[in-house]
């Protein structure tokens, strides 16, 4: 059981995107599905929150200011405290090379933008259900 779940029993999901609309839409869908959402507006904030709060899952936009999603994923993998944290990349870049780069950085899954809220919830549930 992760640190976040141990504190209040609700899985904590970090959602990082510089687009406030995405934060609202993803946050709303996950909160309705019973998750606690931790929003971040850039890569640095996402990394800091991930290290501090150690969420159960991180959903990261690829193209973010300060640190992109690949870099944040890589740094999470390099830190022993967060190396096992599942990461989903949320990206408009769906060329094969971009997807491969995401998996090479350590991502567990990716969701294409624009996205389906139902699909997002299903993927989050699938990943957290496996843990």
């Amino acid at each position: 059981m992760s640190v976040a779940m141990a504190t209040n029993g609700t899985p904590l999901v970090l959602v990082a995107d510089d687009d406030p609309d995405i934060l609202t839409l993803v946050g709303f869908r996950l909160e309705r599905a019973g998750y606690e959402v931790l929003p971040a507006r850039d890569g640095e904030e996402a990394l800091a929150l991930a290290l501090e709060r150690q969420p159960d899952l991180a959903i990261l936009d690829v193209m973010m200011p300060k640190l992109d999603g690949y870099e944040v994923t890589q740094r999470l993998r390099d830190d022993p405290a967060t190396s096992g944290m599942p990461v989903i990349l949320l990206t408009a870049r769906v060329q094969e090379a971009d997807i491969t780069r995401g998996f090479e950085a350590g991502a567990d899954d990716y969701i294409k933008k624009p996205f389906s809220p139902q699909e997002l919830r299903a993927r989050v549930q699938a990943i957290l259900g496996r843990r």
Binding site: D21, T24, L25, F28, R32, P114, F115, S116, P117
Partner: protein
């Protein structure tokens, strides 16, 4: 000029200046009030809009009329980020409140900017009711309206829009970037209607369809595209070669090798590029000869294809002082990249 005239002129100018300052101050106050109202309700409305998009809100809980416009603006924005059922929920909201009907009526407005705005907004309202009127708007006398209609048809994702969009594109009724982007936004939905256009009677339509199938299609399209390497129009043959390269169609390598002998230079160039992308190392000797002796563009393309396929052969050939500039340049670039 008399003293009276000077005094009157000064008075009039002073009055006009004062009035302008007053009007600007009133306008500023009005905008500040609107901003405050927007900010205060923004967060609540954003959650409301997200709930509507998710289908978590009953129609009876829809907002008051005063908030409708703000909510509509938010939902239109959200629609650009969403797919699937959420878009149906957004369409239902706009239809229920008569906003689709309002913008459809504006498509007939006498002012072009109003028609263009309506055509643009309809694309974010997600309603299929707008497809037919937007297809008609592709023939609007205003280029702005036609462009907005093309963009919105792409957003609405209707396969019915594919052929009209291709024709609007080739007839230059919409800017190439806008029409192309709309068709790419349609994605795989566009493929079914696009494939028959590969055999259209107009060469320019065939060329556009071939290019788009190359961008949107998959290995199943290789046969259809390979046949176009023998098209009567050079533009179609060149686009077909490029598309086959993009799809990595290994089964097309024989036909692409034959296309290296096409009588038109840019077809040979595209065939060379495609062979490089497909990874056909067996074509290296033909590409080497082409890089040495062909016209500028095909020779340049052949050398770059060789750098991708067979760098050792390229470096070896480039050492020969009679090999020409293209092999030497490609060898240098490959060495730098390593």
């Amino acid at each position: 000029m008399t003293l009276d005239a000077v005094v009157w002129t000064a008075l009039v100018l002073t009055a006009a200046g004062s009035l302008s300052v007053y009007l600007l101050a009133v306008r500023r106050l009005y905008l500040m009030r609107s901003d405050r109202r927007y900010s205060a309700g923004g967060e609540r409305l954003a959650t409301l809009a997200a709930a509507l998009a998710a289908g978590d809100l009953e129609p009876a809980n829809d907002p008051a009329q005063a908030e409708l416009e703000l909510l509509a603006e938010l939902l239109a924005r959200y629609s650009r980020q969403l797919t699937g059922e959420a878009r149906s929920n957004i369409a239902a909201f706009f239809e229920r409140h008569g906003l689709i009907a309002r913008e459809l009526a504006h498509l007939g407005h006498r002012r072009p900017w109003r028609r263009a705005r309506a055509a643009f907004l309809l694309g974010d309202m997600c309603s299929q009711q707008a497809v037919e009127p937007l297809l008609r708007a592709l023939d609007d006398p205003s280029r702005d309206v036609r462009s907005a209609a093309a963009r919105s048809l792409g957003r609405l994702g209707s396969g019915r829009a594919v052929e009209p969009l291709v024709r609007a594109l080739v007839e230059q009724r919409v800017p190439r970037a806008v029409g192309g982007h709309a068709l790419l936004t349609l994605g795989s939905e566009a493929l079914g209607p696009l494939r028959p256009l590969i055999l259209d009677t107009e060469a320019v339509v065939r060329a556009t369809a071939v290019e788009l199938v190359g961008l949107l299609g998959d290995a199943n399209d290789a046969g259809l595209l390979t046949d176009r390497l023998r098209d009567s129009a050079a533009e179609v043959r060149a686009k077909a070669a490029r598309a086959l390269g993009r799809l990595g169609a290994e089964e097309a390598t024989m036909a692409l090798r034959e296309a290296l002998g096409d009588r038109i230079g840019f077809v040979r160039a595209n065939a060379a590029i495609a062979l490089g992308l497909v990874g056909d190392r067996a074509s290296a000797p033909a590409l080497l000869e082409m890089a040495r002796s062909d016209e500028f563009d095909p020779a340049h393309a052949a050398a770059r294809a060789l750098s991708r396929l067979y760098p050792e052969l390229l470096w070896s050939a480039a050492r020969d002082s009679t090999s020409g500039p293209h092999l030497a340049e490609a060898a240098d670039l490959t060495a730098v990249a390593r």
